[in-house]
Symmetry: C2
Subunit: 207 residues, 2 copies
DNA sequence: CCCTGCGAGCTTGTATGTAACATAGATACA
DNA sequence: TGTATCTATGTTACATACAAGCTCGCAGGG
């Protein structure tokens, strides 16, 4: 039996990321509580946590506002992603096992792109990047990165429907993996940089 | 009248940063509640928030463990500070008003160093850096930076008692400010980088 | 027509009660 | 002796109760 707090947390987070609770909506604790089937206390704790993650803003005695995605937020998220990922690319030492892991995620991307499973494709993409970031061995940065990817989920519809985009993405990741295999840090950084650049321009075009 | 939650939060955070609640201590909600004079509910919310800030770890049905500062945490914090600050130094465009602000903090550092007020000295130092980071205009990174500085507070006794250290720090900041005045981004980055390097080695020596 | 004041109905903030869980130490037993 | 179990105690997780704050609409006066 999972805890009431985490059920409330998962419910609200999922609803926000899926836009079931759209940006600008004002949620009340009681509303959520009855939707999830728990009391207000665990809902409150979930909202508190979501506030620190930047998904909602709590207005005293008013309710919880689902923060609309702003242009500022989009550029902040991508700028920070680039900072974190190029840092990680330059620092991480990736042994054979990590390289295998990366190759596994790339393979998963190919599979799910072929199978048309956008959700799983996105998950594999995310895990690929996360593996690289985690390999840099800085827990603060790894945690930050997870939060960034969560936020990014709200910024675009799943883009894996577009075959061009998925093909480009797979190509990009293959290049990153190739660079990782050579061990040339500067080349890795360059590949990661290019990938993020194409990703952000594609997002801007489609959003 | 400030809220019960924020009173509890301030109390616990201050106590942890001042080592009144030392690393390794296991706190209970009730204990804190009666110390602060509020009920357990706001204490709980404060602890939840402190957990996301990395100061405590909540063990279900056990209590809140004040996380001891680990070697890993120290290096993560400083590594991340360097990443953030060199980024900001390279990106921020500092107009005349911002430069005046920096000069003001530097002046404050000089004053408080002379007056022997370690606490205010540290505050001015922090504000100086924060001004530069904020000038980069990325809210996510600015928020991260604040959290990093909070964590750093636990890592060393206030070092402003040592006249050598304060003199070096003032010198470093003066160089950064000078570089900012020239507008040469690469020079700014270099000055920031040097400063952090001397700061972290001094910290390691004294801790 | 516009402004002001007031009340209804929502919301949160906080306190408190209750049940379940975790742990430590004692005790019984092989 | 070592181990399993029982029990006492402390702690949280969650529900609920209640007071106080915010908002909005409406009535009444200018």
């Amino acid at each position: 039996m999972t805890s009431a707090t985490s059920r409330a947390y998962d419910h609200v987070k999922q609803a926000i990321l899926d836009r079931a609770y759209p940006g600008g909506a004002l949620l009340s604790e009681g509303e959520i509580a009855s939707a999830v089937g728990v009391s207000r206390t665990p809902v409150r704790e979930a909202l508190l946590r979501l506030e620190t993650e930047g998904l909602v803003r709590l207005y005293p005695k008013r309710g919880a506002l689902v923060l609309p995605v702003s242009a500022q937020e989009i550029s902040d998220v991508f700028e920070t992603r680039e900072l974190v990922e190029t840092f990680a690319a330059g620092k991480a030492t990736l042994g054979p096992d990590r390289i295998d892991e990366l190759a596994g995620w790339l393979e998963a991307m190919r599979t799910h792109a072929a199978g048309g499973d956008a959700r799983e494709f996105a998950r594999a993409d995310r895990c690929f990047h996360r593996t690289m970031v985690a390999a840099a061995g800085n827990e603060i940065i790894t945690q930050l990165y997870d939060a960034l990817r969560d936020r990014q989920l709200r910024m675009a519809r799943l883009t894996a429907d577009d075959p061009d985009r998925t093909a480009t993405a797979i190509q990009d990741h293959a290049e990153i993996l190739e660079a990782v295999r050579t061990g040339d840090r500067e080349r890795i950084r360059a590949a990661v940089h290019r990938h993020l650049h194409t990703a952000v321009t594609a997002l801007r075009g489609h959003a």
